[in-house]
Symmetry: C2
Subunit: 309 residues, 2 copies
C-alpha cells in the first residue's frame, strides 16, 4: 500500500506568501489522515488535487490557531459537498467545545463528528487492519499530542515455488503464514523461514509539533522511518524556543539522533527567518539525513522486505 | 487620494484552487478597509504585498463561514505582530459573540476590538474627514449588510491666477472655498464659479453580498462609480438563487441598471461553474459595463473634476 506524506502547510504561527500554517496529509493505502488543519488547508487540498471528501480522520495536535483555524472551513465545505458519513476527529479535550461553538454560529454539520481524546492508558487512538496510530504527549503551552503512524505486521507470504514443489494445502499455507514450521507427511521439518518470504518492513511516520525539546520523546519513536519535528527557531534563538515551548532545528535533530530515525523532516519555521535553509543546515550538523519541508512536498515511504533471510 | 479596490477572494462558499472565499480591500487615501474576511484573507494580503497591520477597519457583511472564517487567523496574526492600537469591526450583532468565542479558546487579543452594528437610524457607520461609510440592509438567510463608501465633498479650490490678478486675501479665499461669491472693494461681484475650479467628483463604491435580488436596493446606490454585486448563480439556476437567497448574474446587472451605476463588478461565483465567463456574459447582456472579478484584481477609481463650468 502507499504511505505518502504531503505537506499542506509548513509555516509557524504567521503564514508567509508561500507557506501556509501547519497541515499535513498522510495517505496510507486508500485512507487519508489529515494531521492538523491550519488556515487554508482546504485551499491547499484543492491546489494539490486532493478531494477533501476522501478524508475520514483528522488528528489535531493542539488548540492553537495556526493548527486549527482551517477546521471550520474544511468541515463546512465537507457538509456543503454532501458528506453523510461520520468524520473522526482526534485531539485534546478542548476540541469538543471548540466544535460546539461551530454549530452555535454556523448550524449543525450534516454528518456525525466522532471525537476522541488520547488518554494515558490508551494503546492506539486508531486501529485498522493495516495501521495503528498512537498519541504521544508533547510539552507545549497547552495540552498537545504528537502522533505515531505504524503499519501493522502483515501475515507472511509463502514462496509460490515451494507450494508447488512440496504440494502444500490450504491448511499448511495458513500455518506457515502464521509463522509455524511445516512438517511433511513423512515427518520432515521445514523451518518457516525456508518456505516464506522475509516479512515486510512495518513502515512508520511520527509527527511531533508543537513541543519543547524533550529528549524522553525519543522512546516513543525509536527507529521510525520518517519523523517530522517542529523546528520553529534557530539555535541563536534558543531562549525564545524554551520560553515559548518550541524547539530549535538542532534540538529536532538531536531527538532524531536519540531515536535513531531514518529520516528527519523539519518545518513549522518561524517567519522571522527569511531563508529556512539556515535551520536545515543547523539540523544537518547534528543529524545528516534532515530535510526542511515546503508546502506541496511529498514524501513516500516505499514498502520493502526485511533482509536477513 | 487613492480609491483602490483589491479583490482578495472571489469564490462563493466553496473555494477553488484559484479563488479564495470572499474578501476585498478598499484603500481610500492612506486608510485600508477590509470588507469581509473569508478563509485565507491574511495569506492573500501577504501574497499581494499588503501589510495587514495597516488595516484599522474591518466590515463584515454577515456571519456565514465564507465571509468570516479568516477573521480569527487575521486578528491572531495582528496580535502576534505586536498590534496595540484598536481595530474597528463592523457587522451584524452576532459578531460580538463570535469574537467572544475567539478569546475563550485562544485568549484575549492584545489590542482593543471596537465593535459597531448598523442600526436603522444610523446615517453613517463610519465617518472621517474624507470618507463616509453607510450600511445597506440586504436580504439573506441571516442578518446581512452591504456597505457604501463615499468620498466627502471637498472644499472648492480657488484658481491660482485669480488670487494674483484680483489680489485675494485669506478671508476672501476662505469664503470662496465655502462657495460664496467674491465682492471686490469697489462693489463688483464675481460669481464663485468664475474664481474656483469645478468641484471634485465624490467617488463611491458599493459592496452588496450576499443577497437575494431586491430591486429596492437600487435606491441606496444611485449612480455609484463602482458596484460589486454577488452573482452566485447563472440564470439557469434562478430557482436555486431564490431558494438560497442569492442573486444571479443577470439580477446583479439589473440592479446596476436600475441604480445607473458606472461600472459593475460581479463575483462570489459558485464553484459549480467551471467558467465564470458564462456569468459575466449573462450580466453583460443586461448591463454592458460589467466585469467578473478574479483574486488579485485591482480597480482604481481616479479622481476627476466635475465638468459643467
Amino acid at each position: 500500500m502507499s504511505f505518502d506524506l504531503t505537506i499542506l502547510g509548513s509555516s509557524a504561527a504567521l503564514p508567509t506568501s508561500r507557506r501556509f500554517p501547519t497541515a499535513q496529509l498522510l495517505k496510507a493505502g486508500e485512507r487519508f489522515f489529515l494531521i492538523d488543519c491550519g488556515e487554508g488547508t482546504q485551499i491547499r487540498l484543492r491546489q494539490y488535487g486532493i478531494n477533501p471528501s476522501r478524508i475520514h480522520h483528522i488528528l489535531i495536535s493542539h488548540l492553537h490557531g495556526d493548527h486549527v483555524f482551517g477546521l471550520f472551513g474544511l468541515l463546512s465545505t465537507l457538509g456543503m459537498m454532501g458528506r453523510k458519513v461520520p468524520l473522526h476527529l482526534y485531539g485534546p479535550f478542548e476540541l469538543e467545545e471548540f466544535m460546539n461553538s461551530y454549530s452555535r454560529f454556523f448550524g449543525p454539520l450534516p454528518f456525525e463528528l466522532v471525537l476522541r481524546t488520547p488518554s494515558e492508558n490508551m494503546d492506539f487512538i486508531y486501529e485498522s487492519d493495516e495501521l495503528t496510530i498512537s498519541a504521544i504527549p508533547l510539552k507545549h503551552r497547552v495540552p498537545a499530542f504528537g502522533y505515531l503512524f505504524r503499519e501493522k505486521k502483515k501475515p507472511l507470504n509463502v514462496r509460490k515455488e515451494k507450494i508447488e514443489t512440496l504440494g502444500l494445502g490450504i491448511a499448511d499455507i495458513v500455518k506457515l503464514k502464521r509463522g509455524k514450521d511445516y512438517v511433511s507427511k513423512n515427518g520432515e521439518v521445514f523451518p518457516n523461514s525456508q518456505l516464506t518470504l522475509p516479512p515486510m518492513h512495518q513502515r512508520s511516520y511520527a509527527y511531533l509539533s508543537d513541543t519543547l525539546f524533550v529528549p524522553e520523546l525519543a522512546e516513543y519513536i525509536k527507529g521510525v522511518d520518517l519523523l517530522f519535528h517542529e523546528a520553529t527557531f534557530s539555535e541563536r534563538d534558543k531562549k525564545l524556543a524554551k520560553q515559548t515551548q518550541h524547539s530549535t532545528a538542532a534540538q529536532a535533530a538531536t531527538l532524531a539522533k536519540l531515536a535513531g530515525v531514518k529520516k528527519l523532516l523539519i518545518g513549522h519555521f518561524s517567519s522571522r527567518y527569511k531563508e529556512p535553509v539556515l535551520l536545515e543546515n543547523e539540523a544537518k550538523e547534528v543529524f545528516k539525513n534532515t530535510e526542511g519541508v515546503n508546502d506541496g512536498d511529498i514524501y513516500s515511504i516505499q514498502p520493502e522486505r526485511l533482509s536477513g533471510e
